[in-house]
Symmetry: C2
Subunit: 341 residues, 2 copies
Amino acid sequence: MADDGGPARAATLTDVARMAGVSTATASKAINGRAQVRAETRARVLEAAERLSFAPNALARSLLEGRTGTVGLLTSDLEGRFSIPVLMGAEDAFGAGQVSVFLCDARGDAIREQHHLRALLSRRVDGLIVVGSRTDPRPPLGGSLPVPVVYAYAPSLHPDDMSVTTDSVDAGRLAIEHLLSCGRRRIAHVTGDIEHRAAQDRAAGARETLASHGLELVGGRAFFGSWSEGWGRAAARTLLERFDDVDGFFCGSDQIARGVLDGLREAGRDVPGDISVIGFDNWEVLAANARPQLTSVDMNLEQVGRVAAQRLFAAIDGERASGVEELPCRIVTRESTLPVA
Amino acid sequence: MADDGGPARAATLTDVARMAGVSTATASKAINGRAQVRAETRARVLEAAERLSFAPNALARSLLEGRTGTVGLLTSDLEGRFSIPVLMGAEDAFGAGQVSVFLCDARGDAIREQHHLRALLSRRVDGLIVVGSRTDPRPPLGGSLPVPVVYAYAPSLHPDDMSVTTDSVDAGRLAIEHLLSCGRRRIAHVTGDIEHRAAQDRAAGARETLASHGLELVGGRAFFGSWSEGWGRAAARTLLERFDDVDGFFCGSDQIARGVLDGLREAGRDVPGDISVIGFDNWEVLAANARPQLTSVDMNLEQVGRVAAQRLFAAIDGERASGVEELPCRIVTRESTLPVA
DNA sequence: CTGAAAGCGCTTACAG
DNA sequence: CTGAAAGCGCTTACAG
């Protein structure tokens, strides 16, 4: 079969050198902007490279340099809403430089994770970022790896590892301070699965902050349930019945908050007039379409990804570090917490 | 500074050969399961490899074989809900084999896309999948590339390219057939931005299907707007006022459908008793938490990604192909379209 | 300023 | 069954 327009073999330095009538050594220097090349020669080489659409083979270069300029992103579940922004932040930080990113989704399976790990090490990535989908600490990848690793969102259980995550306790504080600043004093906390470290930490932050103001959560405790609208609706109804004077809701997710908003509206309560509601995650699609639009805590997950990438860069350059770095959240105000006049 | 536990240099075949007391050639054969090696020698080599945690350098191997076993996934926006499932499907199809995936997010910027393309070609990927976030055809990557390319979700404008996308016209048919089978005859279509090819195609499919049954859309046309809950609510209210006998809603997205459901409930209409509602995207978080739970069209996007990966595999193996392959959608029934008794 | 040679880590004929 | 040699595509001292 003749070559009928199928993809052409990629041009090589030797092709370029031959076309320009020089040695590969000279071609290499010309293309890489080394000083010791006559201008006229350089021009000839560059023209040949251009005509052949020459793209230097990064594999060959990496083999020499002992660095590939690649990094592995190992995620436990791509589906999860939390991994994606972290990935995007990391991809962004790397993309700006010259590094390419391998994406591996272990789908929550430790075997699969090890399999991907082997592949990445074989490909000689310069480093790894392990992205989790929950803030619960996770077991480290394994023994001493030949490249640095940074854990993002889900920190490593091992204190010598490097982890970047979000400050959930402080997030609880932020949410409560915001409701307090709206003039609320009877604040309920409706949140998700108690098994999630994030749920516990945010509740702890909320509790401590109220205590420091001489207050406590309505009902004397956080109400744990599931991360769903249905739970939010049910909880709102129940709380309204038992604590008629509740004037603020701190919700563990925007889904829960959507349910709470529906429950309150259907009970005839006015948000933000009678009651303030704050959600968590700042999930645009849910928050911006809520009635009223929902104030929410944003975890700055892209920032978590970016910082993880920066720490990894530093480690690749030899700056060893360890421990868990907790980044602050921020509040995005919308209509559901307009301050009481 | 002494080497105090920092990452160790990765072991090389030479290290293994030396430890086993054989040549690198023999070590290579032993490790790769070639026949011509004495059992005892093979055992010695494998043990050495094990002790050194030897992982063969894939770069060196790729350089020889002229194939890297890597593929580039070029997405236009990671944020979009539609890219992610396609990516997951592709990652899944590749991950099962032995290929690693480079992820590049062009963020909708053509310059950035070209930049990533150059990097990927330099790294000698065996092929590329270009994942779009809308079904509107897009300009191809550029001239004759040295590796095969498959466009996923957003097809290429060039007929010689290979594209895999979803069948939007047929999706419109599916939705309408489903509502008809629920006993509905007065069906309205509330959908998103008319600029989106997907919105037009689904509307066309709906119109044709109704026509083939001697029916037409309520109001004589599709109602285009935005992909939001707010638009769904507003449209439901308006349609109810103008066409009191409407008994079915085909919505262009689950967000729109959520708005429609809220609008209908607040107008005192019973879903699915009086009116059936079907959404689009089968976005679990929205559909499963709707009141009532929302029947929705699923685009099988993971399947789009998987098929794109398969087509790419075939092309890498020399099977040239071209044209747009349109995969069918499917309906996921929930409570909002229980058949009328 | 230019080029021959060595080498990154591996595999594959080819001798022995 | 084992090993010396060549080579994938490139870069970097080192001569000339």
